[in-house]
Symmetry: C2
DNA sequence: CATGCTTAACGTATTTTATACGCTAAGTTT
DNA sequence: AAACTTAGCGTATAAAATACGTTAAGCATG
């Protein structure tokens, strides 16, 4: 309508904490903040994939758009976990300057809705990442980040760490076929401590929705492990109301 | 600065789902939406306590302000649980008209951050509630509500239902001294099914942080129950890293 | 081609926790 | 005094978590 008006709301944004599992570490996908004139910023910093929200766009829709542009993937796991709205979260001079230059409007305050998403790291999405200046980083060794993005990542990690214990989120991070060792390692890195392999295995295989395949690992210098897959349908059928409670 | 500008951001709000437990039902505190000209609206509707956010105000600060104005209470339990930002959530003609009249600005879209809070229903806060047109409603029998407030309450309830099973939230809803029956009834209404009293009692009393008092119920037409209290310090000391997980 | 190395995979014994349900106790009401 | 109601304790059984010993299947090496 009014050509002065940008087609996004300068007060609202979304940011995505995209987690991936590379077989031994939990990683998060970050983009390099480009310099104001297109050239790399002097103080190189990373940021979370995110964007201001278009005027008639849904929050979750905006998150999906950002994910699609970055990875080329649709239908990936996405969960809102928190909002960050301190009036001073954009206070850092350099970061604010960058945001105003790239958006073209004066920024008073931006409230960002944070999502975490879970994806499988493999060849199919590596291509897009490279073309978007995106790189995977170990969540335990984060590079310098803009704004309060470090706090956002840590809170997202906290949410994941909590929720993976009660929901089948692990299968969003694992390949379609996986070994017992892979899923155990994933749990270990996410919840942060070692688990007994014999008991883990026992508990895992009791679950009828984790099905053995006929296929084994190949080319490993030890006894090859059997592959399993997650049967989502069986999982949903086997769910009963959880009665567990504590004080 | 600019006298045209309101001292709040017309895009950002908070809403509070305030839960209370009256001994047998879970209740939620709602305010009656006043009519546009001060007189009761024709189509009487209720709404969640909430407000637009002041320009330099924190989200949680805004929630605390709303709670303080409504109940006169400080330091009450408050937890952010979701954001509601669909572009059309304010689409209802009547509701939108009301909001524009009372705020004095044109409303395109409001993203609201939803908090739930837990309070003890007793005499000390009844006074303020009355002066603010606030009333308690059974969460199972909600009156007609403005905007998407019904969906917000239901999502808040879902969060509470989930989180009360792993955190000591029940003590925020109970009086300082309570009986085993009271805490069990609270669990039953929140999680939605009956529990075996004998086993519940056993599990409860194993917890060292739930301490028996010397005092008993009086004036009840049956064997009087012993009162207990929650020892927060002991609770925190007894916490160990939860190792429990599932797939 | 036998030996060692590494991780997979199975089993068993013990402890802890959850579930099911019977019974007595201490008040009030009639 | 008998009936009624909820409090409060106990016991037996089933299920789940924990601890840890042992064998199996592949590859790498001399």
């Amino acid at each position: 309508m009014n050509s002065q008006k940008p087609n996004f709301n300068p007060h609202l944004s979304i940011d995505c904490v995209i987690f991936g599992f590379d077989g031994s570490r939990l990683r998060v996908l970050l983009v390099e903040r480009m310099g104001i004139n297109g050239d790399p910023a002097e103080n190189k910093k990373h940021k979370l994939p995110g964007d201001l929200i278009h005027l008639r766009e849904d929050l979750e829709g905006a998150a999906k758009r950002v994910l699609m542009e970055l990875t080329g993937l649709e239908n990936i796991f996405l969960r809102q976990f928190s909002v960050f709205g301190e009036p001073d979260r954009i206070s850092d001079g350099e970061d604010k300057h960058w945001l105003e230059e790239t958006s073209g409007v004066t920024i008073d305050r931006v409230v960002t809705t944070a999502y975490y998403s879970l994806i499988r790291i493999d060849k199919s999405n590596t291509v897009n990442e490279l073309s978007n200046n995106a790189t995977w980083h170990n969540v335990k060794k984060l590079p310098p980040l803009t704004f309060d993005h470090k706090a956002i990542i840590l809170k997202g990690l906290k949410s994941l760490r909590n929720e993976i214990r009660f929901e089948p989120l692990c299968f969003e991070l694992l390949p379609g076929k996986f070994t017992v060792r892979q899923i155990q390692t994933l749990y270990e890195v996410v919840i942060g401590h070692k688990l007994d392999n014999r008991n883990f295995r026992k508990k895992l295989l009791k679950a009828c929705y984790i099905e053995p395949l006929k296929e084994k690992q190949k080319g490993v210098a030890h006894k090859p492990a059997l592959y399993y897959r997650f049967n989502k349908k069986k999982y949903e059928e086997s769910r009963t109301d959880i009665l567990y409670y504590n004080f």
